[in-house]
């Protein structure tokens, strides 16, 4: 894979920030967008824009075709059985909230269990806390190993016949751990529970097959995988989605409306009340085309090699702690420099044109488990190179030196 050719397609990368060539190492927060995605959204607005599923006119048909075409691309991308199982949402958070608000509140009651892990992003934690409060269900956590990974036997011990839902992140946005969600799904099913997978950090970086995982729900965001912000999707098994009540009511999602009673459209439309995120879906479709042209396996290989390289180079820095497992990690490295707060690290890096994330990464319970208040995180994508890693390592050395000197 030719990184230079890929980098060429991302206009934003070709600029100086604070006098240095931009090194973007914050794709786990939000990825950059290739020209093809930007153009697809522009072209949609310039040529095809209209509302969907209602117009008799030509633009209405074109917009509908573009929107439904994107849905089919998402279906194929994650290998769902039917496009009816793909609900467009604002992103992972909205998708998980649909499962929590509709499915979980229906099936959970006093004494039932919802099983999570301590590494969940707030978006896969707080919706379940709310379900537990509303229904009397209990939250349980599969414990973490010292390196942040999960053991199957601990999942087996945590999930019981009282478990109704197991919801686990596929790839941790902090630890870079890749969780055995397929195996956990099998355990959940043995106990009659449903398996929800937070795919925010996995979908952009690796091949995902929801039927192979045999998960019941799978949520992801477009903006972390080269698509615009404001679009994502919820996959759900058809028989479950069919049983579920919508969470938003209004136009677009109805079948028959009376003054006192209404009925809902068939899947997936009953979950897409109001005018949908049409241009966003078009952008997501273009992003999927872009990623598939490179190949998801190729993307995973590149990131794996780059992360291993970064892990090795960063391990050589005295006083730098890396969190999470040493091997088999996804494309991000979360770390701290002794005696320099992550915000200060991030500011020093920013003055050298390097963008990283600093803070709690929307995972406060995990920060407490790590016994830190915040961390710094460098995350990689298809457009990052070993040269980017060298710039990072060099700037971290500078941060150490600057703070060593400044603090004295």
């Amino acid at each position: 894979m030719n990184i230079e050719a890929i980098r060429e397609q991302f206009p934003i990368l070709h600029q100086d920030i604070n006098g240095h060539r931009l090194v973007y190492l914050d794709s786990a927060a939000s990825s950059q967008k290739p020209r093809s995605v930007i153009d697809a959204v522009t072209r949609y607005y310039e040529l095809d824009n209209a509302n969907v599923h209602r117009g008799v006119h030509t633009l209405g048909s074109r917009a509908t075709d573009a929107y439904e075409g994107a849905r089919e691309k998402v279906r194929a991308f994650i290998n769902a059985a039917s496009a009816q199982e793909i609900i467009f949402t604002r992103g992972t958070t909205t998708a998980l909230n649909i499962v929590a608000s509709s499915y979980a509140r229906e099936v959970c009651g006093e004494g039932d269990e919802i099983v999570l892990t301590p590494m969940e992003h707030h978006s896969n934690l707080i919706p379940w806390q709310q379900v537990a409060k509303a229904t009397g269900a209990t939250l349980k956590y599969i414990p973490l190993q010292p390196d942040g990974s999960i053991r199957i036997e601990d999942a087996e011990a945590t999930i019981t016949d009282r478990t109704k839902i197991v919801s686990v992140v596929y790839v941790s946005n902090v630890l870079g751990v890749v969780n055995p969600v397929k195996e956990i799904a099998a355990i959940a099913h043995k106990h009659g529970a449903k398996m929800v997978v937070d795919g925010a950090q996995s979908t952009p970086h690796k091949r995902v097959d929801v039927r192979d995982l045999d998960c019941d729900f799978y949520a992801f965001s477009g903006h972390k995988m080269c698509a615009p912000t404001g679009i994502g999707a919820l996959y759900g098994k058809k028989e479950l989605l069919e049983r579920m009540e919508p969470v938003e009511f209004g136009g677009e999602m109805i079948d028959h409306v009376d003054l006192y009673e209404s009925t809902w459209k068939e899947l997936p439309y009953k979950f897409e009340g109001g005018t949908p995120i049409i241009a966003g879906a078009v952008g997501l479709g273009a992003a999927i085309d872009f990623l598939q042209e490179i190949g998801m396996d190729e993307i995973e290989r590149h990131e794996h090699a780059l992360t291993a390289y970064a892990y090795k180079r960063m391990s050589e820095i005295d006083g730098l702690t890396i969190y999470g497992p040493a091997h088999d990690r996804a494309g991000l490295i979360t770390f701290n420099l002794d005696d320099v707060h992550p915000h200060d690290v991030a500011t020093v890096l920013d003055t050298r044109g390097i963008a990283i994330r600093a803070g709690h990464h929307c995972a406060q319970p995990l920060m407490r488990w790590l016994n830190v208040s915040a961390t710094a995180r460098a995350s990689f994508y298809i457009y990052n190179t070993e040269e980017d890693v060298e710039r990072l390592v060099d700037a971290l050395g500078h941060a150490k030196e600057f703070f060593g000197y400044a603090i004295g």
Binding site: T347, V348, A374
Partner: protein, 140 residues
Amino acid sequence: MQLDDLYRRVIMDHYKNPRNRGTLEEDAVTVNLNNPTCGDRIQLQLQVEDGVVKQAKFTGEGCSISMSSASMMTEAVKDRTLAEALAMAEKFSAFIKGEDVEFDENEDIEALSGVSKFPARIKCATLAWNALRKGVEQQS
């Protein structure tokens, strides 16, 4: 952007040798405040007698900017009336955004003027001052 504009010597001194770090007796006014976007947190305690801040102490975790700002603030409010402390907090929020105000009550604080050029760090500097504002409101 130059790092030295932000991390002046005075700031690093307060970060390394924080003034008034610790806790006060039980009857002190106590405020706990987080910065939910980044994980910084502070506990500020004020010992108030006859409407005057006799002593201010803090504990917490955060970056050099948030902790040095807290250290400076606890020095600046000492022996000020609650009304003066509140006015100082108001003035600080204008000052830190780069508005044209002099902070002559305390010369160390002037060293934080560079923060205004780093918009992402303004919220770090204001955490302790927001805690002060809450503490004064609690007391009055």
